[in-house]
């Protein structure tokens, strides 16, 4: 038990430090993402690729309606553009004058993650890769973490989906990815940044006695994206494309308010002001006025 309390205390300490002294972590890698919302078409290829890669259960209409969907990556859609056209949506007789706004949301892999310190059993913790991880076999299903996630990006197995009338009736089971688990009833799960792909790349690099190369890890969503709107890589590697994109956008980790020289840059983090310190940088959607 002492180690368990130790883990929980460590979670609190990390969280507090993350808030007070952002960017304090000593990571091996710091996996991060950049999503260009001007390129994202909202086509959903990423979301389905994620189902295929990560053994995500489908739940059917009624459970979906009850917000028990298991999707790790959802593509949100909004019809307003508060930044450039705040009044447009109020005229009930008008038609849309622009398209919609799409936002692919997966776990933001926060560095001061609000889900971590509330776990009573330390099932949710931070890896030395800067990932916000969920230890499935430690999870007792208190759901405190999901309750505390401001992004609503944790999904809970309210049911078992492994029965014959579940998500994978024979022979669909044969498609399940053996690199990762199939989660059972009562367990919280979430996006892992395709940790199995990260692990494979790290293992290969270790065997070849070198560092992981930029572009060596591709997440399933990034790989399939038809417009290549998603970029993924190591923010500790100064050569990586993500690092360069973050620098170009003058967005720094460990801050809840960016003091940028150029306020017109497109980079922003969703709910950055909550000081969750997310690892996903979005580039603003661009629209002709």
């Amino acid at each position: 038990m002492s180690s368990l309390f130790g883990n929980i205390l460590k979670g609190w300490t990390d969280y507090t430090k993350g808030i007070e002294e952002g960017g304090h972590h000593k990571y091996e890698h710091m996996w991060g993402m950049v999503i260009d919302l001007d390129k994202c078409t909202g086509c959903n290829a990423c979301s389905v690729a994620c189902y295929a890669e990560n053994n995500i259960a489908t739940v059917g209409e009624e459970k979906y309606k009850a917000r028990q969907s298991m999707q790790w990556l959802r593509v949100e859609r909004y019809f307003d553009e508060p930044d450039i056209d705040p009044g447009a949506i109020d005229d009930e007789n008008a038609m849309q004058e622009r398209g919609a706004s799409f936002l692919p949301m997966m776990c933001q892999q926060c560095n001061a993650a609000t889900c971590e310190p509330v776990c009573p059993v330390a099932a949710t913790y931070h890896t030395p890769d800067g990932l916000n991880a969920q230890i499935y076999n430690r999870c007792i299903g208190s759901r405190y973490c999901a309750n505390n996630c401001p992004y609503r990006l944790r999904v809970f197995n309210f049911y078992s989906y492994t029965d014959e009338d579940g998500a994978w009736p024979e022979p669909m089971k044969q498609q399940l990815n053996p690199d990762i688990t199939v989660r059972e009833k009562g367990v919280m799960e979430k996006c892992t940044f395709c940790i199995q792909r990260i692990r494979a790349a790290k293992d290969k690099a270790k065997m070849e006695n070198r560092k992981v190369k930029d572009d060596e890890v591709k997440t399933a969503c990034q790989q399939t994206c038809p417009t290549q709107a998603i970029m993924f890589g190591d923010l500790l590697n100064s050569e990586s494309k993500v690092t360069q994109a973050w620098e170009r956008q003058q967005v720094k980790l460990g801050k809840y308010k960016q003091d940028r020289e150029n306020p017109k840059l497109r980079g922003y983090r969703v709910f950055e002001e909550l000081n969750t310190d997310p690892s996903v940088l979005y580039l603003e959607r661009v629209r002709e006025e």
Partner: protein, 726 residues
């Protein structure tokens, strides 16, 4: 079922393919399980078979058959099972990317509702039979009258064997049926610029003006165009203007979305041409006097009154096109799915001509040097022809594969009646869809991931490739057979000459490609399979411009009803995606609805009809009615109601059956005047509240951000200051 022997090596040996170098596209790493206290390799390496090393995934190249786009894929095979599909980065079609339908192909392969054994109709119902019995029944009946084939889009050597079989049984009619197609646009391109499949350079355009062409989701080769759209959105950033009556995925990404009265797209194009000529001094070289006088009749104010788009927006479109060259104007989707469809496509090409885009953003494509291998795209005019010919008693024996005419056909064209007049119907399918359920013999096919084949992608630039399809694993259902194997067998059985030397379709395909590529070396063949594609000779075409063929006989009916738009979506597609739970649970891109159909209504229309979000509405045409739930939003013209195609199956499998409604059934049978394409956006309907309400299951309960910075937007002017571009 053959789970006990999912061993690719054994299986390849069975095809004479043992030995080194077989289609090995690359390995990924052994999987380690990282325990908390350290790393431990939990998989032992016990004398592994080649390529079947426990824990090692091997990627094999093949081709996606989700639509006619023909994207090249890599499938990850581990312990004899295919686990994941990814785009092949070397493909000029999809450059390593895939859409959601491509990703979900795995679920049609591992589908629990696949047909496991041949079925033969006895005393009115389908019962299981042996292959020998089913084939001898076909042998007995196939020559008993006028024979025909119905397929979906088909190309490569599958097309050759189908046509060989058809002529061996004395038939001549091959109906290639695809409900979702670009036939009207392609016919217009062929007539007007002399190339039915020109290269479309979205990445070079500064403005895309699209009349209904949903190039990000349903137009010719969606993944290819989406990739080019990504370039188009890079610096310098292009502007997308989409005009359509109901918002498509492409419309959902538009800088300017123009909701237009259904069927009046030609007038909008003429209005834009008028503004370009009169306000921006564009000369209109190559335009005939007849067209010029049509343009003169459509000043923006007149066009505005016809198509219900404000005149100042028409002028704004013209100004944007005039100021940013080169541009590109496309027509497709809803714009071409009405009686004036061809006219809209012709008007789009006319705009390209006066804007100087032809030869710049629209350039000549290439034509296969072996036309008999070329793609027959398929269209819905053929669907109507099939119904008409069947009703006239012109078909006695029909073979069907890759299409589902009983689901796709509007009731008004009397496909069901025609079907019953066909004496003997054979369906080759992996799923028991509506058509297979009504067949006399059903032959169970291997899935697209278990089969051999060669395909010509619907669209590619530069060199033309023959995309190769190879099995990624042993058949999941052991008593199924490959499409090519079955048709080759049928052709041999019918006495087609010159096929006796081939034991199976693999042998046939390999010989055919050896002849095509002028090499029969094992090494070369393996290199083709590893690449998943191989270049084939092609000839350049030349573009010209022949003006004319624009007319506007708009459906201006004002009888108080609405125009039904049976909308095409990436996902369910023409209904083939409906039994794949990943696609059922993947929210529609615009409405975000899952697991059911919906009817899109404008708030103004909904209010006048007393309909609220989630109310069941009855949509009634002269050919029947459907009832589904309302989705109310402003991305639709107030004179239209849109219901997506793809759901409303009475068969196909547990996920598809009795889920949603099929708007195709109640179409009035109208067609595009020139091409005969079934007009899916032109049926007049009455809409009534059915008196029940149940909120739709959807991802987004809200449409607005309520001031939170979720999707932040920046104006393009500001973006140009920081990132450049003009």
């Amino acid at each position: 079922m053959s789970q006990s022997k999912l061993d690719r090596r054994q299986f390849l040996k069975g095809l004479g393919l043992g030995g080194a170098g077989v289609a090995l596209a690359g390995c990924d790493l052994p999987s380690y399980v990282t325990l908390e206290q350290g790393e431990e390799n939990v998989i032992s390496y016990l004398a592994p078979d080649e390529y079947v090393i426990p824990g090692v995934g091997v990627w094999y190249a093949s081709t996606c058959l989700g639509c006619a786009g023909g994207c090249s894929i890599h499938g990850r095979v581990r312990e004899g099972r295919v686990l994941k599909l990814e785009g092949n980065p070397d493909s000029s079609v999809n450059m390593g990317r895939l859409c959601q339908m491509g990703q979900a192909t795995l679920q049609s392969h591992f589908n629990p509702d696949r047909i496991a054994n041949p079925l033969v109709r006895k005393n009115g119902s389908l019962v299981e039979a042996s292959w020998d019995d089913a084939l001898s029944l076909i042998n007995e009946k196939a020559n008993s009258g006028k024979a025909a084939w119905a397929t979906g889009a088909i190309s490569g050597h599958q097309r050759v064997v189908v046509e060989t079989h058809l002529s061996a049984i004395g038939g001549s009619n091959h109906y290639a049926i695809e409900q979702i197609n670009a036939n009207v646009w392609q016919t217009a391109c062929g007539d007007i610029i002399g190339d039915p499949n020109p290269e479309i350079h979205l990445d070079k355009a500064k403005v895309i003006f699209s009349l209904g062409a949903d190039f990000l989701a349903t137009f010719i080769s969606p993944v290819h165009f989406a990739a080019h759209y990504g370039e188009f959105r890079s610096v310098p950033r292009g502007t997308l203007i989409q005009a359509e009556p109901a918002m498509s995925l492409t419309g959902g990404n538009a800088d300017h979305w123009v909701g237009i009265k259904p069927g009046t797209e030609t007038s909008l194009a003429l209005g834009v041409a008028n503004a370009l000529m009169n306000k921006h001094g564009i000369s209109g070289s190559g335009i005939s006097n007849a067209t010029k006088s049509l343009i003169n009749e459509h000043d923006p104010a007149t066009a505005a009154s016809i198509c219900d788009v404000p005149a100042d927006r028409i002028e704004k479109i013209a100004a944007s096109l005039a100021a940013n060259s080169p541009s590109i104007v496309l027509a497709g989707g809803t714009a071409t799915a009405n009686a004036n469809g061809y006219s809209a496509a012709a008007a789009a090409l006319m705009l390209n001509q006066i804007l100087g885009n032809i030869g710049v953003t629209i350039t000549s494509g290439r034509e296969l040097a072996y036309p008999q291998l070329g793609l027959i795209e398929g269209n819905s005019a053929n669907l109507k022809d099939l119904a008409v010919d069947a009703n006239k008693g012109k078909i006695d024996v029909l073979f069907v594969s890759g299409t589902n005419p009983l689901f796709l056909a509007p009731k008004s064209i009397k496909m069901d009646e025609g079907w019953n007049k066909i004496g003997f119907k054979v369906v080759l399918s992996s799923m028991l869809d509506e058509t297979a359920s009504a067949a006399d013999v059903v032959l169970p096919l291997a899935s697209s991931l278990e089969d051999w084949g060669s395909h010509i992608p619907a669209y590619s630039t530069g060199t033309r490739n023959l995309a190769l399809q190879q099995p990624l694993m042993e058949p999941v259902f052991s008593n199924t057979r490959g499409f090519g194997d079955v048709v080759l067998g049928l052709a041999k059985q019918a006495g087609a000459p010159g096929l006796d030397e081939y034991d199976d379709y693999y042998g046939y395909l390999r010989s055919a490609i050896s002849v095509l590529k002028k090499t029969d070396s094992e090494k070369e063949w393996n290199s083709f399979l590893m690449a998943g594609q191989t270049p084939v000779p092609s000839l350049g075409r030349k573009l010209s411009y022949i003006d004319g063929k624009i007319s506007q006989t708009a459906n201006t009916a004002t009888d108080g009803g609405l125009t039904l738009i049976a909308s095409a979506r990436m996902g369910m597609w023409d209904g083939r995606g409906a039994n794949l739970p990943w696609l059922q649970e993947s929210p529609d891109q615009i409405s975000k609805v899952v697991w059911d159909s919906w009817a899109e209504l404008h708030p103004k229309t909904a209010k006048s009809l007393g309909i609220k979000d989630g109310d069941y509405v009855t949509i009634k045409s002269s050919n029947g009615e459907i009832t589904t739930r309302a989705f109310i939003y402003k991305g639709i013209h107030p004179g239209a109601i849109a219901v997506p195609i793809g759901r409303g199956h009475s068969a196909l499998g547990r996920y598809a059956k009795n889920n949603g409604v099929n708007p195709l059934f109640i179409l009035d049978g109208g067609v595009d005047a020139k091409t005969g394409e079934i007009a899916t956006a032109a049926t007049r309907v009455e809409v009534k509240n059915a008196g029940k309400n149940k909120p739709l299951a959807k991802l987004m309960e809200i449409d607005r951000q309520h001031g939170r910075k979720l999707v932040a937007t920046i104006s393009a002017d500001k973006q140009r200051i920081t990132e450049g571009g003009t």
